[in-house]
Point group: C2
Chain length 331, copies 2
């Protein structure tokens, strides 16, 4: 292994000078700097990250905890986060968690990473609370946990649900059902609350049959929609708590010869890329993934720079994207 000592020898300077060129670049005569740089190239030097990290206390890596990459919303979020951290000169360690996952918090404790973004359902685990007590840099993205003293970025899912209700009501679609996963993640529960309350307030409570199955997958949406229709519920609209569920619901509608949107309106949530594909042409509530990721990455970077700054909670307002699964006629 080539070390800074080898470079020093080759350049005829002390090891300390090599290190200065590497880290600050200041307090070095330009001529010396160039000579050292040249020597680095000649001997094929690359600084040892562990040694640097041990001295500086920083690793240059951050963690991202995501779940369920089969829902395209999550890869989109991951890709956006990757871009943001890349621009910030940070590497990204990824945990793909099924449920709660404290590996990332452990990694912070071991100083493998400098901070972490959680995009998964985060219960107030003791580990998380301890980490925050320790002033570990943690950002919650796409999740709001009211009691938690940490930076958070989330869209207002209650408003997201309300927007859908208002839209349906404005167009006389009053016999609405809700399809979610179960148990509902807080984000989805909020969507349901906003939606259901608004409909109820307008005098059109959701059908009791607004049921949900399993996870948040296509299969789950398919099953939920099937049961909904089998139950004989008279519905003219269905709001699914994410796009993938809505795709499943659409497939059921199609298979049964229901015309969308004439007979049934279908609304999703997330505005994933696929929602705009002609096969689906899905009206959905848009979450600006790029913006969300950008804000989250930025908050984490600032938190790492200053562990005691006041906590920030950013709430994004989602908006409705109207497409053929509701608005247009004759598709």
């Amino acid at each position: 292994m080539v070390t800074s000592r080898d470079v020093a020898r080759a350049a005829g300077v002390s090891q300390a000078t090599v290190s200065r060129v590497l880290s600050s670049g200041t307090n070095v005569r330009e001529e010396t700097r160039l000579r050292v740089l040249e020597a680095m190239r000649t001997v094929g030097y690359a600084p040892n990250a562990a040694a640097q990290s041990m001295k500086t206390g920083r690793t240059g890596s951050v963690g991202v905890v995501v779940s369920d990459l089969t829902n395209p919303f999550h890869p989109q979020l991951l890709e956006a986060l990757g871009g943001a951290f890349d621009r910030a000169g940070l590497r990204m360690t990824v945990w793909i968690a099924d449920a709660k996952n404290d590996a990332a918090l452990q990694a912070i404790r071991e100083r493998s990473i400098d901070g972490v973004v959680f995009t998964t359902a985060t219960t107030q685990s003791q580990e998380l609370i301890d980490a925050l007590d320790r002033r570990s840099p943690v950002v919650l993205l796409n999740r709001a946990v009211p009691g938690l003293e940490c930076d958070q970025v989330a869209s207002d899912n209650v408003v997201g649900g309300e927007v859908v209700a208002d839209y349906l009501l404005a167009h006389g679609r009053t016999r609405a059902a809700f399809v979610g996963g179960t148990p509902l993640a807080s984000t989805l529960a909020d969507r349901r609350t906003g939606f259901g309350d608004r409909m109820a307030t307008a005098g059109f409570p959701l059908a009791d049959t607004s049921i949900a199955h399993g996870d948040y997958s296509h299969a789950s949406g398919y099953r939920s929609m099937t049961e909904l229709l089998d139950s004989g519920a008279e519905i003219d609209a269905v709001f699914c708590s994410n796009d993938v569920l809505a795709f499943g619901a659409l497939d059921v509608a199609r298979a049964r010869g229901l015309r969308v949107p004439e007979d049934l309106w279908v609304v999703g949530y997330d505005d994933t890329d696929m929602a705009s594909w002609e096969s689906f042409d899905l009206t959905t509530v848009r979450q600006d993934v790029s913006q969300m990721a950008e804000l989250g990455a930025d908050l984490l970077v600032r938190r790492m720079a200053d562990p005691v700054r006041p906590v920030e909670r950013v709430v994004l307002t989602p908006d409705l994207v109207v497409r053929g699964s509701t608005a247009h006629a004759g598709r």
Copy 2:
């Protein structure tokens, strides 16, 4: 920060003994071991990864370079790799690369990661060749680069194309077109070669109009299919070099009132989750993502353990999954 020295003090032993408990666990009296473990808990100790890594020369992290998470095949691969590395006790640093990306190779040089899996198009960049000369652990997954002296796992894309041709020919679908991206990644070029050669050999060369546009996205498939049909080509089957392109092609067929499969057969590649959704019900060439990821992770682990072991090249044989976009009647 709590160090092993603090633990030693609390347990009434030397720092070396704490370290022994931590690393090997051997050569320590059971009673001592328990006392140290207890002290660790009491003082809230977590070993410093950088210090460990500096001594051992290993980081416990591996890199994965993926591209284009909008193609669901890649998230599936990433998720499978994440699972495999997790089971091996390794963290996963992810680079989402648009083109060639040497950041991961740089990270190996700096000892931020112990090895890397490339799942992206890898030209024989000088950096990669240098890395291999240095015996850096590198595995190519889903990419075969014949000249490259490194472990590789890929499916046989030529055979994949041939399988499709044989299938079409066996069912009398002889006026076939190919839709790919451009420029073709080697994987896709192989699929085209296998497909085109087999069709030509049987006396049914592909239409000249077998064109391709842009990337490997839905939009690209949509545009290619549109041009294909606009050109007036008389085709009864189209083979798309991946599923996402096929979804775009299917949407065009639908929009134009072409019946699939009666008027047109559509075949994809990858067997992503979505291919089985009723909206698409796509016949496609299956790549076993889990197996591929498992093999790749395993090769990397073994390569890291033994940098001089002979290179392995694993070739997987893809198989055809027949669904409604070709076989069934009346959908």
